[in-house]
């Protein structure tokens, strides 16, 4: 009996020790990979900037339209010569296979400067084509003011809006449009506060430095992710 307990304990201790070592080695690269992932998405979607939006990310509690519970949105503010040029943040919309997470970039007028699909569970070859730039570019330049809205939202052509859906897939583009509309509304409502916080934001020392050298470089500003992982 004693021997059984000892051998199991030794095996578990050795495993825990080994894993702690591996974790110590991989922790920093994993955090860096996540940061780069966010940075790439932000670069794709924001208007040109010369600061470090990821290092200076704001964590804003917002109350989404029609809801009561506040949720925290990580907002990346792009600045050029100390002046904000646009903001990017992750939004979610319900697609065919689950939630689609989209990085939405808007300029200060609320016009979409770019979107990028971060995560989705759509059908390969059909709905999954939403991640192609040939689709995401269709949102560029749209805003709540210059588009044909359906019930206050951007919508695909099939639903009476003006966004071209994909061949054989309407539900996925519809999910993207819903998520993007949600984001545009959040932006128009919180625009003032976001810009105000961005101005006073983090210490001036970190403005304009290389990515990764800001005081917040160590933390992980991960976009909102689907609950199913």
């Amino acid at each position: 009996m004693g021997r059984l307990i000892i051998s199991l304990a030794v095996a578990c201790f050795a495993a825990a020790f080994g894993l702690a070592l591996v974790n110590a080695v991989t922790e920093a690269p994993i955090a860096e990979q996540r940061r780069l992932e966010v940075l790439r998405a932000v670069e794709e979607t924001l208007p040109p900037f010369d600061n470090d939006p990821v290092g200076e990310a704001l964590h804003m509690p917002v109350i989404p339209p029609g809801e009561e519970v506040p949720e925290t949105v990580t907002v990346y503010v792009g600045e050029r010569g100390e002046e904000p040029t646009g903001v990017a943040f992750a939004v979610k919309g319900e697609g065919y296979g689950g939630f689609i997470t989209v990085m939405l970039g808007v300029d200060l007028q609320g016009v979409i400067s770019g979107i990028q699909i971060l995560e989705h569970l759509e059908t390969p070859g059909l709905g999954a084509n939403i991640e192609k730039s040939s689709f995401t570019v269709r949102f560029k330049g749209k805003s709540l003011e210059n588009s044909r809205l359906v019930a206050g939202n951007l919508a695909v052509i099939n639903d009476g809006g003006d966004i071209d859906a994909l061949t054989g897939a309407t539900i996925s583009p519809r999910g993207v449009a819903a998520g993007v509309s949600w984001g545009l509304k959040i932006f128009s409502e919180y625009r003032g506060r976001i810009l105000e916080e961005a101005r006073e934001g983090p210490s001036p020392a970190s403005t304009g430095t290389e990515p990764g050298t800001g005081p917040d470089a160590g933390q992980e500003p991960i976009p909102v992710r689907g609950e199913d992982r």
């Binding site: 051998s7 095996a11 974790n23 991989t26 690269p29 994993i30 070859g125 992982r229």
Partner: protein
């Protein structure tokens, strides 16, 4: 039983996927592209070789009554190692394979080789057994992934192999396509090696 045979048997005559029909869950789920098959196969091979090695080294010290929990601890540790390493250094592939890397823990090929082979054979033979089985699994996944990617997307390893007139059969990328391709592959394997259903 030469060492060469220990290595060789996992590749064709006792291929884990196409002969023993083990490890179906990752085989069906991740083989939407040949590159996914390579990554999944290599991850499983790493775990198989390492767990076979550790278990063969300690095979005389492990009390039979608690061998299964100890095997699982060893396997789960190596799976966590490969999961962390892929997340850190092959981030894109890690995102594609997602949940299926942690699920290598319950891949019955690995526990099967630990129990049936490594726990009662010398170290070198166990490593070769793990390597052979792992390569056999990888090859089978690559073939399956290649067939599905070619028919469903018109590419192999991302390189276009069909003319513009070819309309990709999307069903091959969906779950039914996995069963179709695997069934046909198993049939072809039986035909080629002369095994008739009995």
């Amino acid at each position: 039983m030469s060492l060469w045979h220990e290595f060789n048997k996992g590749i064709v005559s006792r291929n884990p996927l196409l002969r023993l029909v083990l490890g179906m869950c990752p085989a069906l789920a991740v083989t939407t592209a040949a590159a996914n098959g390579v990554a999944m196969g290599l991850a499983a091979t790493f775990v198989l070789v390492c767990s076979n090695f550790v278990i063969a080294v300690f095979r005389k010290a492990i009390p039979p009554a608690v061998r299964i929990p100890i095997f699982i601890v060893v396997i789960a540790s190596f799976v966590t190692v490969i999961d962390l390493v892929m997340n850190a250094f092959a981030h894109e592939m890690h995102k594609v394979l997602g949940l299926f890397v942690p699920l290598i823990v319950v891949n019955c090929i690995i526990l099967g080789r630990a129990e049936a082979y490594a726990s009662r054979n010398p170290v070198l033979a166990s490593i070769l057994d793990g390597l052979g089985m792992g390569i056999g699994f990888t090859l089978a996944l690559v073939v399956l992934g290649g067939i599905r990617e070619m028919l469903g997307n018109g590419t192999i390893f991302g390189v276009s192999v069909v003319t513009a007139a070819y309309e990709p059969a999307i069903i091959m990328l969906l779950p039914p396509g996995a069963f179709l391709a695997l069934g046909l592959l198993l049939g072809a394997m039986n035909k080629l090696t002369g095994v008739e259903g009995s």
